[in-house]
């Protein structure tokens, strides 16, 4: 036993000596290698995820202004660029830069019904996914991020609010893209309650449609790392706060106005919840899919701004540049630059030239760069919990 003990004693002495060395230094470092190696990030969706189809991003313009999908891609050492470019009339493949994998287009919808609507228009997110599916398949080192439904919800709210003036023609037309004439006829004839409720039925069908697109064009094409964003609660965007305020005003303000405002907000939230619930149900148990609860995450930020480092969750940072046909203010992203904002802090804003860096909204419907960071962190948490990051 003696040799063993001698060795132990010698080892102890050596260890103690090494400690004196180890005790020095203490610099903080980071090993940023993710758990899952991702070599390409594919993105489909709307303006929240558009890397520059229209030559700008739907946030504040700056030399370095990553949107959340670009931030997520960066976590895996990847970059993104827009696959499509807008030609002024239509969407063509980006020839200025090739190999781009961000197919998201501002204005994208699950069901696009605006100008130039057709089943082949890439403003349908499903068409974006089918476009990539026609070009190639997926591997285990692809990360896919899909969002949609926010603009669809905005369309539905707009059509619903027009019902008193157009005899529900717009509302019925939009519902008709997914529901049967009988379903719609019965609901509209049934009064205010069923007229509202049919919106939830539509939203559930919308989730089914989106699920089917993602299944056919992404999952069935071999993708094993798919992030699907649910619909954030758009009633808390400045735009829909204005819409709700106008509802309150139409009811004469006061208690009656507040009640009408609350009732409308609850209805629109019920629609989004119907969609989000269905989406979660559809993907439940699918190991290759994470459904990120953007709805709740966004609500949390609005409810406790200071906790999230936000100084303003009500006012858009970009200046108003016009008035839309709906009577709501419009904004111009290409001129809403970091330099322009820093040069003109609004009265009462804190942080000097950096005032806009803690605002939640760039315009009345889209997040600032910090808003994008918060969304990326929400996704980052989901990815880490899943073991993908």
């Amino acid at each position: 036993m003696k040799p063993f003990l001698t060795r132990t004693a010698a080892a102890s002495a050596a260890l103690m000596a090494s400690l004196l060395v180890a005790g020095c230094g203490g610099g903080a470092t980071a090993d940023t290698t993710p758990k899952v190696s991702i070599s390409s990030v594919k993105v489909f969706g709307d303006s929240l995820q558009d890397s520059g189809t229209f030559g700008f991003k739907f946030t504040i313009q700056a030399a370095n202004n990553p949107i959340y999908v670009e931030r997520v891609a960066a976590n895996y050492g990847q970059t993104l660029c827009n696959f499509f470019t807008f030609t002024g009339t239509t969407f063509a493949a980006n020839t200025a830069k090739t190999g781009c994998t961000n197919f998201a287009i501002g204005g994208g919808r699950i069901t696009y019904t605006g100008a130039g609507a057709s089943p082949a228009n890439p403003l349908n997110v499903g068409v974006q996914m089918a476009t990539y599916a026609s070009l190639g398949s997926y591997t285990a080192s692809d990360l896919v991020i899909v969002d949609g439904g926010g603009n669809d919800t905005a369309d539905l709210v707009g059509a619903y609010l027009k019902a008193p003036t157009d005899s529900a023609a717009s509302y019925a037309a939009l519902l008709g893209t997914l529901l049967t004439p009988t379903q719609i006829g019965t609901a509209l004839a049934g009064g205010a309650t069923t007229t509202g409720q049919i919106g939830a039925t539509y939203m559930t069908a919308l989730a089914d449609k989106f699920y089917a697109s993602i299944k056919a064009s992404v999952l069935d094409k071999g993708a094993t790392h798919v992030v699907v964003m649910n619909i954030p609660d758009i009633t808390f965007t400045p735009r829909f706060q204005m819409v709700l305020d106008s509802i309150a005003a139409a009811y004469g303000g006061g208690t009656a106005g507040a009640a009408a405002r609350a009732q409308s907000q609850a209805l629109f939230q019920a629609w989004m919840t119907a969609y989000n619930t269905e989406l979660a149900t559809k993907f439940a148990g699918n190991d290759g899919v994470i459904v990120v609860d953007f709805y709740k995450g966004f609500q949390d930020e609005i409810a406790a701004p200071a906790q999230y480092g936000l100084s303003n969750v009500k006012t858009p940072a970009c200046p108003i540049t016009g008035v839309g046909s709906d009577g709501l203010p419009t904004y111009t992203f290409p001129t809403c630059t970091d330099a322009a904002l820093s040069a003109a802090p609004p009265a009462g804003a804190t942080g000097g030239a950096d005032w806009w860096k803690t605002y939640a909204f760039a315009d009345s419907f889209h997040p600032t760069l910090y808003g994008h960071q918060l969304t990326q962190q929400l996704i980052g948490k989901a990815l880490a919990t899943k073991g993908w990051l």
Binding site: M1, T8, S12, L15, A30, A306, T385
Partner: protein
């Protein structure tokens, strides 16, 4: 490696138990020992300061390392112990609102402790239980963050979020027993509880107050000079 060492040490003590005893623990003795210790923090984490997800907490996992030290016998019953250990590498993982995200980073700790011990029984007793009390300086260094920490705090590979932990003093209590194997050789096993708090900081500016209060189990084989 560690398991092998512990196994070897356990075999060694089993052999020694059969051996005779002598005056290894009398006044004026200096015992130098070597062994292993496992530190298990009993974490009570505060919330990470804003901006953050409300209720963001951390947990610090247990770590095992080599430990050595010197015990000086002031009298037959009172000794002063200075354990010196090799660095412990602890995993720092998400808890609370970020429960499940996994490892946020690792931090090395080097607990420097000075203990006054009271040993029961006679200097000639084969087995002597002891109690101790002292002060520990928890030195935390070389923190290394993960991609997960960056991802949940807005960092990127080019500008990763890093973490650090403040080194602090704490009080330590000890309970243990020593077995005199031969005149010069002894083996001891002790459990210590240290009351220590630290402040973790992120390069993104947030801080988190954390009570660590680790329980350590230490085993050593000593030789009297």
């Amino acid at each position: 490696m560690k398991t092998k060492f512990l196994l070897g040490a356990a075999t060694a003590i089993a052999t020694f138990l059969a051996a005779g005893s002598a005056l290894a623990q009398s006044a004026g003795s200096i015992v130098v020992y070597g062994g292993a210790a496992q530190i298990t923090p009993q974490v009570d984490s505060g919330d990470l300061s804003a901006p953050s997800l409300p209720g963001t907490k951390i947990d610090v996992k247990k770590a095992t390392s080599f430990v050595g030290g010197i015990t000086y016998y002031w009298t037959d019953n009172i000794s002063i112990d200075l354990p010196i250990s090799a660095p412990f590498t602890h995993d720092v993982v998400g808890a609370g609102a970020i429960q499940g995200v996994g490892k946020l980073g690792t931090v090395k700790s080097l607990p420097a402790t000075l203990l006054a011990q009271y040993r029961f029984g006679e200097a000639s007793s084969a087995f002597r239980p002891f109690v101790g009390a002292g002060v520990t300086y928890g030195y935390f260094y070389k923190p290394k963050a993960t991609a997960t920490l960056s991802a949940i705090t807005g960092g990127t590979p080019s500008n990763p979020t890093t973490l650090s932990m403040k080194s602090r003093f704490g009080a330590t209590l000890e309970l243990g027993g020593a077995y005199n194997i031969t005149k010069d050789w002894s083996a001891s096993l002790s459990v210590t509880k240290t009351f220590i708090k630290t402040t973790g900081s992120l390069s993104t500016g947030q801080t988190i107050e954390t009570t660590l209060d680790p329980v350590s189990i230490k085993f050593g084989v000593g030789y009297r000079f």
